[in-house]
C-alpha cells in the first residue's frame, strides 16, 4: 500500500524554514486559535539532509521531490504546483516528483506550508507566490553550495535542468551532488522569482505526475485502505435533516454474518461494524431504528418552493450590487421585461462515496492517539475534526491523506471523518473503515443551495439597457456553514459574479442585485462553481431574453453593455470569433452564447445544439474561452474545462435533489442522473491569458456551460427553459 511517504519529520527550528514570508493574517490567527505552539520542535535540532528550503527535497540521484500542501482530487493541482516550484528551481522536469505534506507536520512546523484547504479553484492561484519563492530560494541555495565548493562567486554560476554551471570555467555539478551541502545553508528570503518570459516548465502541457497508477488499479484511494486487524463499518444517519437517533435494536441483526458491533454515532446516526463492509451494509438494511424527526418530517419541495417564491417580492433583501436607481430606470422605460428562474438542490455525488478509516489508541500514560486515513480537501480540517471527535490534542492526531475519488467541494466538510473517529473510539485499538453507501451519500450531502430568481430589465426606445434588477431568493451557504460570516443579513458568497468587482455589465447605468435569504433545514455547501452556477444562468439567459425583446443579436447586445469591462469583452469576442458567430450554421443547428467572471478568471462560451421535431436535444459543440491571467499547464486547463462542462451539463439536463417528508427522495444514480458519454458535446477550448493576475481554472467555466446551451435552445425552439433541470420539459418548437 502506498501511503504518503515522509522521509522528513519534525525538523530543526521551524522558524528558520518559514523563509521570512508572512502567513496571511487569517491563517496566523488560525494557528493561534488551534493552540499550536512550537511544542519543543526547535529544541529537537534534528537537521534533515537534502531538504532544500521547505518545498523541495533533492535526492542524490537528482530526483526532486516537491512538497504539496493542497489536495489532488483529479484537478491536476499536484502537477501544477510541482511545475511552479520546479521551474523556479531550474529543475529537470524528468526527475520531478510530488508528495503531500502531512497535516500534523504542517501544524508542528507552524503552518510553514500555509493553508491546506483545497477549494474555490485556489489550489494554484492562492499559493503561487510562496511556492514560487520557495523554488527560487532552493535554487539560490544550490548555487551557493556549488560556489562554496568551487570557491567562486555565486554570481558566476548559472543553473539549467538540475545542473549548476560555473560559467567561466565550464565546471558543472548536479543538484543531486549538491543537495546535502545546500540543505545546510540558511534559507534566503525575498529571492526574486522569474519573469514569465523566462519560464521553461510553467505554461507547458507537461504530463501529469499521477497518471500511471490510475491505469491499472494500483492507485490507493481512501476507500481502498487495508490495515491489519481492520474492521469495516457503514452508517445510517437520520433520514430527516436535523433529526435525532432515539433507539435501535441491535439484537435483531447480532447474529447476521460478520456483524461485530452496532453503535450509536453522536446523537443522529448509528453504525454497524462487521468484518466486511458488505456484511455491515446487508445487516444495516435489517436494523430497526427509531428516529426523532425534530419537527421536520413534513417538509416537501413544494413547501420550499413556496417560501422562496415569497422572497422574490419581499421588502427585505441584502444588497450585493447597487448602481444608479433601477426604480427610476423602470419608470422611464420604453420597454420592460421580467422573468422568474429557478434551480434545485444538487448533490456532489463524488464517484467514491464518503469514507474514512480511523484508529484510536488508548494510552492512559501518554494520552490517547488518533490516526486517520482520509480523502480530504483540507487535511488540517480533517485533523481538527479527528482531534475533536477523539477528544485528543491536535498534536496526538496523525493524518494520512489518501487519494480522493473526486471532491468538487464535498470533501472540505469532515462529517465522515468525525463519524469514523466516533466509531473507532468505541472499538479502540482496531482500525475501522467507515464507508457510506451511495444512498447515504446521496441523502446526506452538503447540497448546492436551492434558489429562485426574478429578473426585471428596462430598455430605452433604441433598445439600450437602462436597468437590471436581479432578485435572488433562496438558501445561503454561509448561514449554514459559518453564520459568523453573515454581516447585516448579507452572505457575500451569494453574490459571486454579481458584485461590482466581478460583474461584466457595469456600463448599465442602473443595477440592483439583492438576496432574500430563505433558509431551509437542508444542509448546503460548496458545489463546484458554487453560486456562480445559478447566478450566471439567471443573468446570462435573461440578457438573452432582453436581446430578443430588443430584436438584437445577443453578441452585439452584450457588447453594448460591456464598455466598462474590457477583459470580459475580450474573452467573449475571442470565443465568438473561434465559434464563427458571424458565419451561418448548418441547417437545423442553433447556437447561444454567454460570458462570466468567477474565481479570478474571465470565461465565455458558445454552444451549438439541435432540437429534433420530437423535442430531443443534442448538444453538438461548445467553444469555451478562459483568461486565467497565466496558464500553468494548458493540457490540464483543457481537462478542467471539459470536466466542468460534464459537471455543469449533467446538472442542466438531469440532476435534482428533491424533498419529501423532510428527507431526500433521490437515492442513487438511477434517480439522480448525471452526464454520461452520450451527453457530452465536443469541447473546444481557447486560452487567452492576459497576464498580471492568477485566476482559477477548475470552476470558472462551469458557470457558462448551462446558459450557453439554454440560449441555444431558445434560438432553436423559441422556448425559454427557466426552471432546471431540463429533463421532462417539452422542448418541441414553441
Amino acid at each position: 500500500m502506498k501511503l504518503n511517504r515522509r522521509h522528513f519529520i519534525v525538523s530543526a527550528g521551524a522558524g528558520a524554514f518559514t523563509l521570512g514570508w508572512k502567513l496571511p493574517h487569517a491563517l496566523a490567527q488560525g494557528v493561534a486559535a488551534q493552540g499550536v505552539a512550537a511544542q519543543g520542535v526547535a529544541a529537537q535540532g534534528v537537521a534533515v539532509p537534502a531538504e532544500i528550503g521547505i518545498w523541495a527535497v533533492v535526492h542524490p540521484d537528482d530526483t526532486v521531490m516537491v512538497r504539496i500542501a493542497r489536495s489532488e482530487m483529479g484537478q491536476g493541482t499536484m502537477t501544477g504546483l510541482a511545475q511552479l516550484v520546479a521551474d523556479e528551481m531550474d529543475a529537470d522536469w524528468v526527475h520531478v516528483r510530488a508528495e503531500y505534506v502531512a497535516p500534523e507536520v504542517n501544524l508542528a512546523r507552524k503552518r510553514a506550508w500555509g493553508d491546506m484547504s483545497t477549494g474555490g479553484s485556489r489550489g494554484i492561484r492562492a499559493s503561487v507566490e510562496y511556492v514560487r519563492q520557495g523554488g527560487a530560494a532552493a535554487r539560490a541555495m544550490l548555487i551557493q553550495a556549488a560556489a562554496a565548493k568551487w570557491g567562486v562567486p555565486a554570481s558566476e554560476c548559472t543553473t539549467a535542468a538540475s545542473v549548476v554551471t560555473h560559467t567561466p570555467s565550464k565546471r558543472t555539478l548536479r543538484y543531486g551532488e549538491l543537495a546535502e551541502a545546500a540543505s545546510k545553508l540558511p534559507v534566503p528570503s525575498n529571492v526574486a522569482v522569474k519573469n514569465p518570459a523566462d519560464w521553461k516548465i510553467i505554461g507547458k502541457g507537461v504530463k501529469r505526475l499521477d497518471t500511471v497508477d490510475k491505469l491499472n488499479g494500483r492507485q490507493i484511494y481512501a476507500i481502498d485502505v487495508q490495515l491489519p486487524d481492520m474492521l469495516n463499518a457503514t452508517i445510517a444517519q437520520s433520514p430527516v435533516f436535523g433529526g435525532k437517533l432515539v433507539s435501535f435494536d441491535a439484537k435483531a441483526i447480532a447474529a447476521m454474518p460478520g456483524v461485530r458491533h452496532v453503535l450509536a454515532v453522536g446523537d443522529n446516526a448509528v453504525a454497524v461494524v462487521a468484518d466486511k463492509f458488505y456484511q455491515a451494509k446487508t445487516a444495516m438494511a435489517k436494523l430497526p431504528i427509531v428516529w426523532d424527526e425534530a419537527g421536520n418530517g413534513e417538509v416537501t419541495s413544494a413547501m420550499i418552493a413556496k417560501a422562496l417564491a415569497e422572497g422574490l417580492d419581499a421588502k427585505e433583501a441584502g444588497v450585493g450590487l447597487k448602481q444608479g436607481d433601477v426604480a427610476v430606470a423602470f419608470a422611464a422605460a420604453a420597454k420592460k421585461i421580467e422573468a422568474v428562474y429557478s434551480a434545485p438542490f444538487l448533490n456532489h455525488a463524488t464517484l467514491e462515496p464518503m469514507n474514512c478509516t480511523a484508529m484510536v489508541t488508548v494510552d492512559p500514560a501518554r494520552g490517547d492517539r488518533v490516526e486517520i486515513w482520509v480523502p480530504s480537501q483540507n487535511g488540517e480540517a480533517s485533523l481538527a475534526a479527528a482531534a475533536e471527535a477523539g477528544g485528543v490534542k491536535l498534536s496526538d492526531v496523525k493524518v494520512n491523506k489518501l487519494s480522493l475519488g473526486g471532491g468538487f467541494g464535498r470533501r472540505g466538510q469532515q462529517d465522515y471523518t468525525r463519524q469514523a473517529v466516533l466509531v473507532a473510539k468505541q472499538v479502540p485499538g482496531r482500525p475501522i473503515k467507515l464507508i457510506w453507501t451511495r444512498e447515504e451519500d446521496m441523502q446526506h450531502g452538503y447540497y448546492r443551495p436551492i434558489t429562485q430568481c426574478k429578473l426585471t430589465g428596462s430598455m430605452d426606445a433604441a433598445g439600450n439597457v437602462t436597468g437590471i434588477h436581479m432578485r435572488i431568493s433562496g438558501q445561503s451557504i454561509l448561514a449554514y456553514l459559518n453564520p459568523a460570516a453573515i454581516k447585516d443579513g448579507i452572505d457575500p458568497v451569494q453574490f459571486q459574479s454579481m458584485n461590482p468587482a466581478e460583474f461584466g455589465y457595469m456600463a448599465v447605468p442602473n443595477l440592483l442585485v439583492d438576496h432574500a435569504m430563505r433558509n431551509t433545514h437542508v444542509p448546503v455547501g460548496f458545489w463546484r462553481g458554487v453560486n456562480t452556477n445559478q447566478n450566471t444562468i439567471y443573468m446570462e439567459c435573461f440578457i438573452d431574453e432582453m436581446a430578443a425583446a430588443a430584436g438584437k443579436d445577443p453578441l452585439e447586445f452584450r457588447r453594448a453593455m460591456m464598455g466598462k469591462n474590457p477583459k470580459h469583452l475580450a474573452i467573449l469576442n475571442a470565443v465568438a470569433e473561434k465559434a464563427g458567430w458571424d458565419k451561418p450554421l448548418a441547417p437545423g443547428v442553433y447556437r447561444g452564447l454567454c460570458q462570466n467572471y468567477g474565481y479570478g478568471s474571465y470565461v465565455a462560451a458558445v454552444a451549438e445544439v439541435t432540437v429534433s421535431p420530437k423535442g430531443e436535444l443534442k448538444i453538438l459543440r461548445i467553444v469555451a474561452g478562459t483568461d486565467p491571467g497565466y496558464v500553468v499547464n494548458p493540457d490540464q486547463v483543457d481537462a478542467q474545462v471539459d470536466g466542468s462542462f460534464a459537471f455543469g451539463l449533467g446538472a442542466l439536463l438531469y440532476s435534482e435533489i428533491t424533498l419529501d417528508k423532510g428527507r431526500v427522495v433521490e437515492g442513487n444514480f438511477d434517480s439522480y442522473q448525471v452526464a454520461r458519454m452520450s451527453d457530452m458535446p465536443r469541447v473546444e477550448t481557447i486560452h487567452r491569458p492576459s497576464g498580471g493576475f492568477w485566476g482559477g481554472v477548475g470552476e470558472p467555466t462551469i458557470a457558462v456551460a448551462a446558459p450557453a446551451v439554454l440560449n441555444a435552445i431558445f434560438a432553436a425552439t423559441g422556448k425559454r427553459i427557466r426552471s432546471l433541470p431540463i429533463k421532462d420539459q417539452d422542448l418541441r418548437k414553441a
Binding site: 482530487m73 483529479g74 484537478q75 491536476g76 504530463k207 501529469r208 499521477d210 497518471t211 500511471v212 497508477d213 490510475k214 491505469l215 491499472n216 488499479g217 494500483r218 492507485q219 490507493i220 484511494y221 476507500i223 481502498d224 487495508q226 469495516n232 454474518p257 466486511k276 463492509f277 458488505y278 455525488a349 463524488t350 464517484l351 467514491e352 462515496p353 487519494s403 480522493l404 475519488g405 473526486g406 471532491g407 468538487f408 464507508i435 453507501t437 451511495r438 493540457d635 481537462a639 471539459d642 470536466g643 466542468s644 462542462f645 460534464a646 459537471f647 442513487n668 444514480f669 438511477d670 448525471v674 452526464a675 454520461r676 458519454m677 452520450s678 457530452m680 465536443r682 469541447v683
Partner: protein, 151 residues
Amino acid sequence: MIALDINGHTHQVYADPETPLLWVIREWLGMTGTKFGCGIAQCGACSVHIDGQVMRSCSVQVGSLDKAKILTIEGLSPDGLSHPVQKAWLQHEVPQCGYCQSGQIMAAAALLAANPKPSDADIDEAMSNICRCGTYNRIRTAIHTVSSGAV
C-alpha cells in the same frame, strides 16, 4: 466454499453465494482496483470481464460464477501498462481523479475486443460508465486512437 478463476488464478473463497462479486474481489481477496460507486449496476466503476463480456460486478453473485473466467483491471496486462487501452489512456492523459478509470478501461477493452472500429454512436452506447470528473471526451479520443492503431 466457492472457487473463482480470477486473472488466471483460482481463488477459494468462503462467502455466501449471494455475495456480489465486487465485494468478494475487494474485501475477501483484497484486490482494490475494482471500485464501488453505486452497487446497483448504474455507474460501471466495478466493471470486470466475465468470460470476455464486460459486467458490473456489484450486480453479479459469486455463486453463479463456477467455471467462469473473470478478468479484473489488475489482470488486464502483465505490467499494468501494455494493453493498448492503457497505452492510449496514458497518451491522452485520460484520468482526472482516476476513480472511475478501472471500470472505463475494462469497458473500453471489451468494446474494442468485440468491435475494433467503433463509431461515436457505438462508443456512446457501450461506454455508459459514469465519470464525475468528466473525462468523457478524452475517453472517446483514446478509444479512437486504439482503433486507428496509433498507440
